[in-house]
């Protein structure tokens, strides 16, 4: 099943490569890839996974990597070096400080260290030409140095470290650092490595063009955002859920903003609490709120819910259900139902990978993770791009 799926994806890819990648010419571009939450080699639950095809720039020398996390909370494609065949030609970027350009990318749950290389990224009929990606755990830039792991909560610089073969960051921004890294060599993100002794890598400035970038933003068309649409999952969980990642918002008949969806605009990237909306819950306003398909649960502050004994999730004896109000910067508001069930029961049965009621205690923010995505389209519009009549960054649902 998996093999035939990959084969069909490759077929699409080859077709598109034959088109020359110009895009936008004749009929509508195939702008959807399949996303699956299901049993996987890493046993990662509530993780929307897709296959991504990369090609050596300007060639039909391509490889398809399965089990890549679709992450609306980050920007840029990151692939584990171990998931890329040794025969695939990787042309690493040279840093302005000299040596190979390396990056320390930071996630809520840790850091990925690796080199930067340009490839063509094919997703359905779309192609991002020569887009910088991160080769996570690339031995060419050595092992993760302390100055990288110091920034995060743990090293994830391998496929097993990430829990995926890679992370496809299709979130709100174009580059993963932006102008800060153009202007300063000391943000902590980019380095030049002249040897494999990573401790000796030097901080470097890096142009926007060389920063690891959201491939969607580089598509010739359908480049203003994405729609992640996941099937609904019955309470208690299911073995799998399927969905689609659609490219573009309001650019094709299949990606118009649905009449039932509302746009929630966000704070700007340079504000003190960037890219957030407000969640009103239990009498408190959590201004540090966001939706994120790369978070596999609902993470918020509810100390009355019991934590599991042997899992870092909640384990209420009965179903916990409540409502919260999401409030955009544009004052758009909606009530959202949320439910938390016993993670022990859901995870320990070993069959379920899609869990709409998975969550854990977290203070200081309200993270609407994958459970929020089940059963509805969630639109993520890229910062500064017009999308369906409103400029990003915004979410719509």
């Amino acid at each position: 099943m998996r093999k035939s799926f990959i084969a069909s994806l490759m077929a699409i890819t080859v077709l598109c490569a034959a088109c020359g990648g110009g895009g936008g010419g004749g009929g509508p571009v195939d702008n959807q890839i399949t996303v699956s939450v299901a049993s996987n080699q890493f046993s990662s639950v509530n993780s929307p996974l897709a296959s991504v095809t990369i090609c050596a720039t300007g060639t039909t020398n391509c490889t398809t990597i399965p089990n890549v996390l679709v992450d609306t909370g980050s920007y840029g494609l990151r692939l584990a070096a171990s998931a890329i065949p040794g025969s695939f030609p990787v042309t690493r970027t040279t840093a302005s400080a000299g040596g190979t350009l390396a990056e320390c990318a930071l996630f809520g749950s840790g850091t990925t260290w690796g080199s930067v290389a340009n490839v063509d990224v094919h997703l359905a009929g779309e192609m991002a030409t020569s887009v910088p990606i991160q080769i996570v755990g690339d031995s060419a830039v050595g092992t993760p140095p302390a100055f990288c792991t110091d920034q995060g909560s743990g090293d994830m610089s391998s496929a097993t470290g990430m829990g995926y073969n890679g992370i496809l960051g299709v979130g709100l921004e174009v580059q993963d650092c932006g102008t800060d890294c153009v202007q300063s060599n000391a943000v902590g993100a980019y380095y030049g490595c002249k040897t494999t002794n990573s401790a000796a890598c030097q901080g470097t400035t890096v142009s926007l063009a060389d920063q690891v970038s959201n491939p969607v933003a580089s598509f010739p068309v359908d480049n203003n955002g994405t729609i992640l649409t996941m099937s609904s999952v019955a309470p208690g969980g299911a073995a799998s859920a399927t969905g689609t990642l659609t490219f573009g918002i309001g650019t094709q008949p299949d990606n118009a903003l649905a009449s039932g969806s509302t746009v929630y605009t966000l704070t700007g990237l340079t504000t003190e609490w960037p890219l957030t909306f407000t969640t009103h819950f239990n009498g408190e306003d959590y201004t540090n709120s966001f939706v994120d398909s790369g978070s596999n649960g609902l993470f918020f502050n509810a100390p009355t819910i019991s934590t599991c004994v042997d899992l870092p999730f909640w384990c209420p004896t009965g179903l916990y259900s409540s409502t919260a109000t999401i409030i955009g910067v544009n004052n758009a508001q909606s009530g959202q139902a949320l439910a938390i069930a016993n993670a022990d029961t859901m995870i320990d049965d070993g069959n379920d990978y899609a869990m709409p009621e998975l969550g854990a205690e977290l203070q200081g923010e309200f993270d609407w993770g994958l459970p929020f995505f089940f059963g509805r389209p969630v639109y993520t519009a890229i910062d500064g791009r017009a999308a369906g009549g409103t400029n990003g960054p915004y979410y719509a649902f």
Partner: protein, 192 residues
């Protein structure tokens, strides 16, 4: 996360402390918002931050004077604000990171928070708790999965690594060092 029974006790302790969060003043005391820095000064000040990051560990659990080291190592603009029963040291880092260190009546840093579009050097901020927090975070992540936030709750220290790319946030506190009546849920509330 080895000591789960303690963790439960700890959680209950938090619940008991909810008698009105210490009403923190509505001080939006950031005298140095990013916009006020000239970029020329910025680029000079930033160089070398990485190289010096292990000059001295301070912060969580250390004495009040250790904030001086953080201010220097993190190249921060500092503003000290007295609250009822504790002091908040605001450290505004030039690259769009806001750090706060909370100091109790015994002059101990009992909590730290951070947020912004980049992350600070957490080894510097978590001090002697940094290695342990990372070891536990890796273990939690191995069971939790995803690339989202991680929360650790031990009897003596709690750490929450949150946010996502472009908007990071987090906090750590020492339950045994909280001022009387202080609810950790109120950390960072003075700007929310």
């Amino acid at each position: 996360m080895a000591d789960r029974p303690n963790e439960e006790g700890n959680k209950k302790g938090h619940v008991m402390l909810t008698n009105k969060r210490a009403k923190v003043n509505q001080l939006r005391m950031h005298l140095f918002p990013t916009g006020l820095f000239s970029r020329t000064v910025t680029s000079l000040a930033w160089s070398g931050i990485v190289l010096f990051s292990h000059a001295a560990h301070a912060a969580l659990g250390a004495v009040h004077a250790s904030v001086d080291s953080d201010e220097r190592v993190l190249r921060a603009a500092r503003q000290t604000v007295s609250e009822r029963g504790y002091t908040v040291e605001h450290l505004d880092l030039i690259q769009g990171v806001w750090v706060k260190e909370y100091v109790n009546g015994n002059d101990i840093v009992f909590a730290v928070t951070w947020h912004g579009r980049h992350a600070p050097d957490l080894t510097q901020l978590l001090g002697s708790y940094a290695d342990r927090a990372r070891t536990e975070a890796r273990a939690v992540r191995a069971r939790q999965g995803g690339v989202g936030p991680i929360a650790l709750n031990d009897a003596d220290v709690a750490v929450m690594f949150g946010g996502r790319m472009g908007s990071y946030s987090g906090r750590a506190w020492l339950p045994g060092q909280l001022p009387a009546g202080f609810n950790p849920a109120s950390l960072d509330r003075e700007v929310q």
